[in-house]
Subunit: 438 residues, 2 copies
Amino acid sequence: MPMPSPALSAVELARTDLHASLADPSLEAVNFLNEIIDRYPSAISFAPGAPHPGFFDTLDLDGYIDRYTAYLADQQHLTRAQVRRRLFQYGPSRGLIGELIAEALRIDTGIDVSARSIVVTVGCQEAMLLALRALSVGPGDMLAVVTPCYMGIVGAARLLGVPLVSIGEGEAGIDLAQLVQTCKEVRKAGRRVKAVYVAPDFANPSGSFMDRPSRTALLALAAQEDFLILEDSTYGFTAHDDHALPPLKKLDCHRRVVYLGTFSKVCLPGTRVGFVVADQPVHETPPRDRLLADEIAALKTMVTVNTSPICQAVIGGMLLANGGSLAALAKEKATFYRRNLEHLLNALDRRIGRHGGIDWNAPSGGFFVRVRLPAVVNDELVELSARRFGVLWMPMQHFYPEPVESRELRLSCSYLSPEQIEAGVERLAAFVNHVRYR
Amino acid sequence: MPMPSPALSAVELARTDLHASLADPSLEAVNFLNEIIDRYPSAISFAPGAPHPGFFDTLDLDGYIDRYTAYLADQQHLTRAQVRRRLFQYGPSRGLIGELIAEALRIDTGIDVSARSIVVTVGCQEAMLLALRALSVGPGDMLAVVTPCYMGIVGAARLLGVPLVSIGEGEAGIDLAQLVQTCKEVRKAGRRVKAVYVAPDFANPSGSFMDRPSRTALLALAAQEDFLILEDSTYGFTAHDDHALPPLKKLDCHRRVVYLGTFSKVCLPGTRVGFVVADQPVHETPPRDRLLADEIAALKTMVTVNTSPICQAVIGGMLLANGGSLAALAKEKATFYRRNLEHLLNALDRRIGRHGGIDWNAPSGGFFVRVRLPAVVNDELVELSARRFGVLWMPMQHFYPEPVESRELRLSCSYLSPEQIEAGVERLAAFVNHVRYR
């Protein structure tokens, strides 16, 4: 802050008065993109990764809350007044619906953990922040991220001042040779890779999918190089049964995996309910029966105190209304998103074609397709695409922790209808041809 | 983490693998106290500062959500589908109900700020964390706190690694001479006091109230010494109209005050809705029309993305149902809490008496009374009080950032009925006599 004038004029903050995480270019990128969306409202947008809004038209909020409160009355024998206090008063920082989440994980993913190892969080974002804070001790503790990378984890690391190191995706979702090399180099420099963040199932933004040998090898590497894995499971539900692979957490015999979950995609984002599974024992003298989840719950008291019990009641009710499993709900949505994705890939084939420096991947699930252009893809190009061609998307450069020149962009299929996707790809083809032949 | 054995056994974290904030004694204190509460369920507890549970028995959640959705339809002309998407989808990180909060602040406190300067947060705790993070830049930036102090702000500072410096309460809620001295010393050491956290109205835990000259002087000092003030307004609503003083933010001509608010006490904790007012301009080249609130909203994307729109709808509906003001609701609750407080103070006079090294303050509002005993008040003494005398309270030592020996304890009047208060003070008298005459 500049020194005040003798007249004690109003404060004016300078950029240097604000935390470094606020100078992160990714925040600028989000602002810029929102501004473009506002400026070109008739553009068809492949930018948002939000769930399809059509799913909300029949959602019965009261019904789910009633379902959960009936459960509290019937199963936990609470009186009507006790039920109301459970919902309206402060609650435990680890949350109320850990048992229900543990049960759903068992049924839906085969992950078998105790309710004690679960902390309910304000969306997956808080789960990331808390897990990262709990594990990052000294300035030498680094987080490795597979890039391009979901910016939520990068933002959490920046806010906490945790240094990042980037690992490439390679062919199978993570370049394990590079990860080994990085662990060694970092150790030589007197630092250590304390945790590795990965989204093995159709990662945002690349749509990449980690094959089974890589999953096994990553877990072995975690034990060998002594790091924990932060597994982001957001898009796992979109996998077709024939192609689904077990989450890292299910394969995790040595408790190397901290599992990050969200109800935003299968249920709804508006509750802001996510969770973290952290069943790692904490060793102390004298010994106490502590898990990493207990530590994360303690940290949560410093961030949000507890997750809204009303919001937990909505999610709890949805779990109960679906027999304790989200499989049926997830299947319905997965079918929708896979149809959208197939439609998008099909339209790209029909209308654009992989030639002249243009290519894209073809994920079998998730929300995202990664398109390569024969030119650097930056914010000016988005602006051009919106203004002249009426179509929006995300430049891939915004999904790297460090400034990069990327020739890629991200398309998301989740928010649009098949008709909008078709019309959007038609516009995208005109834009791509402009880039291809200019 | 210990190096893995050749057999790649399960990970076991050591205390040194976890962030320093998790070693904070205050976390232990909370655990210890919860454990005592569990162990002596029939003890009358003056420990919790939570709102009185009786207020929740008639609260109409659906009605408030309906009220807010009707407002979206009528005032903002949203269709039914748009309303549902507003509630169920992701939303802006600054929140949806800034306009309604700005209006309520104007009516209820005379604070006149734009909706743009407000960010809706997950309780007041997130507001503290975000404001502190935005303003703390280098390792030399310190937060001054008036002690004894609400542990939420201490926890947020610990989590972020922001160093703290303690200021005494003095006679009038803050020892201004000590604050000036501290600013000077800190500056001499090459650091700076970047912000000062205060709760001028019946602070938790001391119940202290800042008089008008101190409020004015603190604001002048903020300009002179170039710091911002984080004003925690939680208990301001409990002041009797005859004694109420304007919040610092209302007196703040130079935008030195960041105002932290909560709906937990007047409305309900279960929504986890709070807010921060940060109308400080951020100067940049080239100039952009930015406020500190814009920066805090950007930081929020890294912590919780956005506050649940469903929870915001409940609070928005409560505001609308009360004519855009919380005054009537606040008055009803203030009357209840003041009656409880008077009852508590009266019972202390009747049953204990200020002699033999025993004394207490007599706040005219808030939830808390500070009692001094002729002995060091620690966890062993709580345990004794619960076990032998059936009454619980909080040792004041837990409300200091650094370990202290305190002879004080905190009583809270919010959670109990007058009958419970009477019976509790009877038990407390037996305990106090034991301490006085042992």
